[in-house]
Symmetry: D2
Subunit: 278 residues, 4 copies
């Protein structure tokens, strides 16, 4: 890994000192707080997620050791390239086998090549992450406000650059009729199970024992190296052309964030469930 020349790096940010990056957080942050920390993205940088990931590591350990629950996440889509991934079966090893963190080898290679092209053009792309939690027992969650899926939704949409959340069949599920969409119950090895899992492991805010899976949409990185229309702090219409090193695709870096937030939501509900029903 190459460490950036610390003298030069802020130089690269100077172009952004007095100009707001389009679709970035720096305008709204300045407007609200009157604070503008432009080098490195400042206070609005995704660097803040380091605390979430650290706490998530503890949460994942508790989930694994005390409840037998595994949390995992991977890249499922980069711009229009979509990987084939079964929420029940992909592994950490597969995820970490390539820098895209996509367990579908063929797709991951396409994605990597695509991001490379985009990077060279000074542009950026977004995509979709798939998060899963396996082994969650029946009963975690709440029936009204703090539904398990509602807390997951907030956790995911609180991540930088995320624009959407869907659990189970999600937005795609609305194309089906109830008779096609419902997950039939059947007894299997003495347990109530479902024969399909369009519910995504949660029914009415409470886990039903099936694998929990959900998708999170991340927009293309706001900071690009092309010339864009914007305004300055002084209220002038200007052009901005960012320099420096910027991620053309944040997806692989968002994987540990999604895992961390998932683990934090689940461990909270594990304790609440034990408190109420233990």
């Amino acid at each position: 890994m190459v460490v950036a020349n610390t003298d030069q790096r802020p130089e690269a940010y100077k172009e952004m000192k007095d100009k707001y990056r389009p679709s970035h957080a720096d305008y709204t942050y300045d407007a609200k707080y009157g604070v503008r920390a432009w080098p490195g993205g400042g206070r609005t940088s995704a660097r803040e997620t380091i605390g979430r990931v650290a706490a998530g590591a503890v949460a994942k350990k508790i989930l694994k050791e005390q409840f037998g629950v595994t949390v995992l996440c991977c890249v499922q889509q980069v711009q229009k390239i979509i990987a084939e991934i079964n929420p029940d079966h992909f592994t950490l090893k597969q995820v970490e086998s390539n820098i895209m963190r996509c367990p579908d080898k063929k797709a991951s290679e396409k994605m990597i090549r695509h991001v490379d092209r985009v990077r060279k053009a000074g542009d950026s792309v977004g995509g979709v992450l798939l998060g899963v939690a396996r082994g969650v027992p029946v009963g975690w969650g709440e029936p009204v406000f703090d539904r398990l899926e509602a807390d997951l939704a907030k956790a995911m949409v609180s991540l930088p650059a995320s624009k959407g959340f869907e659990i189970g069949s999600g937005f795609g599920g609305v194309a089906l009729k109830g008779s096609e969409h419902n997950d039939a119950f059947r007894m299997r090895r003495g347990k109530v199970r479902t024969t399909t899992n369009r519910s995504g492991g949660v029914q009415g805010g409470i886990s039903n024992g099936e694998t929990i899976y959900f998708r999170v949409a991340f927009k293309p990185t706001a900071t690009i190296l092309q010339s864009q229309d914007t305004v300055s702090r002084l209220g002038k219409n200007v052009k901005l052309k960012a320099r420096g090193r910027h991620d053309p695709c944040v997806l692989p870096r968002a994987v540990p964030m999604v895992e961390a937030m998932t683990a934090l939501v689940l461990v909270d509900h594990a304790l609440r469930h034990r408190g109420q029903c233990g």
Copy 2:
């Protein structure tokens, strides 16, 4: 309005007394709490949202009178029928002009006919709601955990039958490159504005002064009048055929819920913003 015969109505629910409805909340609720209130859907009924709607009415009034903010919601999609709606321009009058609560007249007629056919077949459909908040000033929200879009996500996904939330360009936005997706800033009448609104009125967790708009996915109603595979409370594989009157499509009824939750989230952030920066 016809008042249901109270003697007969529970009768219609009896079939469901000992059988869990597929994809309904009644299995997980029973598993967690050991409580089964089958008539009327019991504790897991969407009737609980009445309190949200009542509180939302107060919140909408505060938003309108003190901050000039309007909250509105409508049906945008029913199964595969998609209406054309501009988040900036549809009106309450248009929404309330038909029982589907869809301001696109042509689409609403198709939707109504479709739901009617589905109802006759004893089946159900889902769809997508569009929620908007117009006139929100720059600065509402928080940069990290309690992002405005994160709180909206939780509020929406806490509603019965909702399976997804997306703000601005949402899941569709991932198909674009950064250079296509970014909202350019331009000065207009002395204000910082954006020329497009793929951000959906929020950047980095904080409102940017543009119209806030988002979409919420609702799955097809779980309770249908066709025979389905399920299990009984005693752990037997059985068939269930629900009777009684059940909504074949909850979308129009969810419109006031989405408005209420939007208003509650916004009024909270209005007070927080005034407390911190007022």
Copy 3:
């Protein structure tokens, strides 16, 4: 019980319509919210505690049935009359044996006579309540912010007319040296117990298995039937002489409030403890 003549009662409050009662909540409430609901004390009336008492009844039942914990409260002091009460031994029957809710018969008779004299003089008195929780196991509470005694303090001082809270030896304990004040540990029937209980059942924020006991100070009722200096809503110096029926001593009525708030704090910590350590 005589039901007040509803036509006449508001009449009795009219004198207070435009004049703030000294040491009552009605001035600060009006100053903050611009709302003045003078009949019956309005929004600032202790009638609001009915919700706390109702919830407390459920909490007491859970504590008793699931954890074997008993919550009890009584009047220990009225103005300068102090009863002799052992936190470990007084009973509900003794408390409810007289209208003063003081289990020390001799003291209660003195208190009742005293309150009667005070009432005839159009004056009022305050006093001290003793709250206890017996059977709380070792380990409920938190070591830092949400200490068990801190949550009890907030709960008690949130009650109308309360001006102080002390647990165990409280303010009196500061007259002792450490060597006199410390509760020695000794093994008793295989359990770690203390030979004295100046800690009041809590050490470092966490219950130690001994009886929890605390005292709550209630000031004399603000509304009295004597002429007092005050100001009007219009900012004039005036005289106020309240009429109508007002409690000359709120202590016996505060007993169920203290029990309710104690039970609510304890049941919260019971669930938290089971969640964390169960």
Copy 4:
């Protein structure tokens, strides 16, 4: 200041390794969490308050600069030695003029001599702190659960070694009749003021514009250098004689803690008030 020999200091704690200090937090902490960090008092050490004091420094600055509010605290009583202090008039300079942090010179000298004697005897003493907030405007606080005095009570009783809280006339006020206790309202320079301040600056949960003052009881330090009965981790009755350097009186060190917690409670309510009524 002499820096402790770090090699020797843990040695001094060894006696406490397997023996619980009477009236200290280490037994309950171990019982709840199964963790025993004996050197330096471990997790239950008052060292945790450093974070509160740091945050309080920011809160004090906001209160001073944005609202003109001053927060101050001093030692009012050490065991039986009671200082004469007027909540409206003592100054930071007076407080910091002596190591006891007591603005009454005569009393502070007595206190210092007394603590010295107690220290030599291997014993400890407690006392009472007086906290004040001057310049708080009318209207901060809430009428029901989050009363200003309730939040102050929780904040103070959450401090290590504190056993009680009283605001205004507190426990002493119960000796008075309503006619003696009520604070008459009078107009002064166009403002509603009280001629006395037994309310302690708060009425019905909301500040009334007078100086807020309250007292906090701190028990004698639990760790003393005399032989005491206690039990070991293995459940044996034993004798414990602590060694090392231990505060014979924590009062002066608790002054900044009380100031910090007061400032944090007030700045929270300042923001809430501005949010609701600003």
